[in-house]
Point group: C2
Chain length 594, copies 2
């Protein structure tokens, strides 16, 4: 089974749903136009299909390997990475002054969906470089930008995010790595870090580690953490690589999936490092990287789901069993059995919704930086902030769900590793965990994101959804319309309830108990809204005699599938949202163990 | 992490929810009483915890191995099997005349839940013997019972179900293996079979294969299939093992999970076999085995979920991060964070519901055979038939879901194989597939099961649920009561709609499009009903001053958790049930690929 990048759907989603034309209209991306969008997606498709997809299985089987403090990438990965960097793929959205192509973030995300779909373990490597680029661009000194930023943008070096410690995962405030002054302006890092993705490898000559650690006089907790940059090799005066720096990989984890992505245990033993940004502001600085990475992980969820979907669809068209309920054909392809068709249709609808949410978040991020007015930038920043945890959590849950349905469609063959469906099921499982578990995302949504503007971003979203709802009866009648109306009403009701509980002295546990249900509700309804936007656009194109009629009709049907199978159940989450902290408190650890 | 069998909960579910006392009252199980129930569960717990659970990880790591046409069980498994057989565990529910203990099926299922939880790959071996025992008991000749049944009951030999071929999976009617007469009353089997669980191994001296094949003059399709018995070793006149029979394992599959369960490709090359039952009735005869096995697979789903739950709960009580929302404690165990508590509470509630459904199906199966009157037996047979696909599909979906939540609760550690959570996630994934995919179960429910009695079994179920609903306001008010009422109303409405569509000339695709949603709806609501039954019983015990108050209060809280997080969303499945075959038909294979 070969992967085919969904170029047409990526372009449609960027243009008709996410509204990338608004980004172009800011003038911040002078090279960007619709032709370039098409060219970039086509080129990404070619690379992902031709170079990355064929390495996916060997990467799973062989994995990356560790020996004597150094990691070797899986067979073929180093060469593929060099081609990737040479193709300019690490600099798509980076600023021109650093050698980047200065294209919209949203377009980069669409291109990277094909990378993650083709080879999720590979995609993590440049994804982390992009996060490091964002952090250095925002907080690096001119010298750091001069030296490190351009090498990351060119892809000659890769970046790594170095946060987690055995005792400090979701709670980064607990971390204990230290940085002591060397007296020459540099710092000496000490400590052990775990779960460092692509923390070491042999695909590039050098690796730039962005490390969180504590200054000697730092306050305890999250306000005493600083961000450092440590280069695998120290640099000579002329910029050439010098001595090996004092950190190394002391092992790699044996994981359920993404075997070709080395997950390193790193030991820092007096590693020379530079401070990035302000002392004790490391966590805030790192959030720049983390938010970018969270959205990128959402796109990973979409990519792995797309891959699993294509694999399952190909099997369902090929495999023959039983009689078709529609045609009566004997020994029919199983795609002609309604229950298999239903699974595939739901998979496709959920993927399209998640893709739309992620790319819309990318557009919001572009507009948050480049929209014309302060007011517009503030509004788009609110949308970006609101959508980021949803893009991450909702899309990665769908990655797992779709990969699991992909296994199911294969029947017994799905459980056999050679078939390939099982790899997606294993690989997909990491995405709801890293870059902040999906539970952390939900807490971020109901905590910071809902209150930072008193709920204004959600009200803006609800207003946008209601505007679409007013148009929907032009396309549908009955349940498809009612389902979105009820969904939007549920978001309104749930938001009001949450804001009330957030204001109450005894409301904290209620809000946290509601977090997961609220994120899922807003995700389900937002996804439905976006598929409705796509359907309306398709209707307009059809009415205007443009485009491929069958494909556009498919967009109109897809919303109906989503409405019946996802959206109509969304309001049913209200009870979980309102369950209350007291109920869970009664369900104590002793009761759980009883 | 050690597994602890949930003996108290198994006993409570059998007695307070499934109503095993009704089984005892039939008089068909003279040795059974409540003391024996406790003794059997305690002994099963001891064996599963002490012998089977410690082999689970090594079984995953080493797996079973194949060489030169023969399979070796994973390290320790053959010895564990011999202890298992010596303990009498393969004959719990078998008839006394065959050397069994003639205990209720429901009790056997409860005991086996601990086996599957401790070591799912191991449990498959005796599970298939039990299925073979049922088939031989129902359809074997006196001589076959004499020779083979007693050896299966004693556990000296094991049984295997030999159905699937590369071109005949869900559609067994397509199978092509042949049986030609040898002239001496025996038959010669030819053909290749795949996915034969424990089809070969070295844990016993002999293996009894129950094989589907076609007679030379058999009609095409499902009505031309016969059931045969082929013994790995031919038997001498005196019953001792003679020459090796003409079939062997030509390979084992490399699978996502249950590595210690050999999944064999079997080749029959003139293997000597006996006909079991009537010619061309093999599929009907095999359904005796398959229905028993389907319920057993449901119990596997419960077992693997319980194991994953315990593992995650232990981690959540041990792992410390952040501040508790309830106590304000810093560096609190993560079980004191509402979102983690919610996950564990939902896991526990779903496991309890699935356990209740499976054990109630077991009770129904016992009563279908042994209730006093024809009318009662007919009614319980209807309940057994109705519940079997739900027990299989709903419980195994929960097995996967709970195992996935178990990974999630571990955070990054969950993705590391050494932690153990990932194995449950991998192992659990097979259960929705084998013994008829969950899609096949759903079709069985809306097809055969719903119409075989004109919907009477569902109406009986609805009447029972309404009787419980009338009592519920004694324990709860508001949403917990309304949720069950709405759920029952949804089941009523969906059933009426389905029966109408089944009667319509153009309804076939509508019914099949509804199948999955209907099974999930009935499962969700039935699970809620059963937790309500448990809560009512707990209330009665509390009011009577019996039992452990904290534990019983936990049962009352558990229903509330289920009502808020599962039951309240059940009615939201109505749109998926009503989506219609025409919508899916429009979502054609070309649209899916577009």
């Amino acid at each position: 089974m070969t992967y085919r990048a969904p170029v047409r759907d990526l372009a449609f989603t960027l243009q008709a749903v996410a509204g990338i034309d608004r980004v172009a209209a800011t003038g911040a991306f002078p090279d960007y136009d619709a032709d370039l969008l098409g060219a970039v997606l086509e080129a990404a498709a070619q690379f992902s299909e031709g170079v990355l997809a064929p390495l996916n299985r060997i990467g799973d089987l062989k994995g990356s390997t560790w020996a004597d403090g150094a990691v070797s990438a899986a067979p073929g990965f180093a060469d593929a990475y060099r081609q990737f960097a040479e193709g300019g793929w690490t600099g798509l959205s980076a600023p021109a002054h650093a050698g980047g192509q200065q294209l919209p973030k949203a377009l980069e995300l669409a291109a990277y969906e094909t990378v993650h779909a083709a080879n999720m373990a590979f995609g993590l490597c440049p994804m982390l470089s992009l996060a490091a680029i964002e952090a250095l661009e925002a907080h690096g000194t001119p010298s750091q930008k001069d030296i490190y930023l351009s090498k990351l943008v060119s892809g000659e070096w890769t970046g790594a995010m170095v946060l987690t410690e055995p005792g400090a995962g979701s709670d980064l405030g607990a971390l204990t790595a230290t940085a002591t002054p060397n007296g020459d302006g540099t710092w000496a890092l000490h400590g052990q870090k775990i779960f460092i993705t692509w923390g070491d490898h042999d695909a590039t000559d050098n690796i730039v580690h962005m490390v969180l650690a504590r200054l000697p006089d730092a306050p305890a907790g999250p306000k005493g953490i600083s961000l450092f940059l440590a280069s695998k090799f120290l640099l000579n005066e002329d910029g050439s690589l010098g001595a090996r720096n004092g950190f190394r990989a002391v092992g790699v984890e044996h994981k359920l999936g993404i075997h070709a992505s080395p997950t390193c245990v790193m030991s820092y033993e007096g590693a020379t490092a530079e401070l990035v940004g302000q002392p004790n502001q490391g966590l805030a600085h790192m959030f720049v990287m983390m938010n970018a990475a969270r959205l990128a992980v959402g796109v990973e969820g979409v990519g792995i789901a797309e891959r699993a979907y294509q694999h399952a669809l190909a099997y369902a068209r090929d495999r023959r069993q039983g009689r078709s309920a529609w045609t009566g054909e004997a020994n029919a392809p199983i795609v002609d059995h309604p229950d298999v068709r239903r699974m595939l249709a739901v998979m496709k609808a959920k993927i399209a919704a998640a893709r739309a949410i992620c790319l819309s978040t990318g557009v919001a991020a572009d507009l948050a930086k480049h929209a014309a007015t302060d007011e517009d930038r503030r509004r788009w920043k609110g949308r970006e902030d609101l959508f980021t945890p949803i893009a991450k959590a909702w899309s990665t849950d769908i990655g797992c769900e779709v990969a699991s349905m992909g296994v199911q469609i294969h029947g017994g063959m799905g459980f056999i590793e050679e078939t390939g469906a099982a790899q997606y099921y294993r690989d997909a499982r990491i995405a709801p965990i890293y870059e902040g578990t999906n539970g952390i995302q939900a807490m971020d949504l109901v905590g910071r994101k809902l209150s930072q503007d008193g709920g204004q971003s959600v009200r803006d979203l609800i207003a946008d959804m209601k505007a679409t709802l007013a148009v929907l009866p032009r396309l549908y009648s009955g349940r498809p319309v009612e389902a979105l109306a009820e969904g939007v009403a549920a978001v309104e009701e749930a938001t009001a309830w949450l804001l009330e509980r957030k204001g109450a002295a005894d409301g904290a546990a209620d809000v946290l108990a509601a977090a997961d249900g609220y994120l899922k509700l807003v995700g389900d309804v937002t996804g439905g809204w976006m598929l409705a936007l796509g359907a309306i656009h398709a209707r307009d194109q059809l009415d205007g005699g443009q485009g491929d009629p069958a494909w556009l009709e498919g967009k109109i049907t897809l919303y109906e599938v989503y409405a019946a199978n996802v959206l109509d159940g969304a309001a049913g989450r209200m009870a979980a949202i309102r369950q209350g902290g007291a109920l869970l408190e009664r369900m104590s650890a002793d009761v759980l163990a009883g």
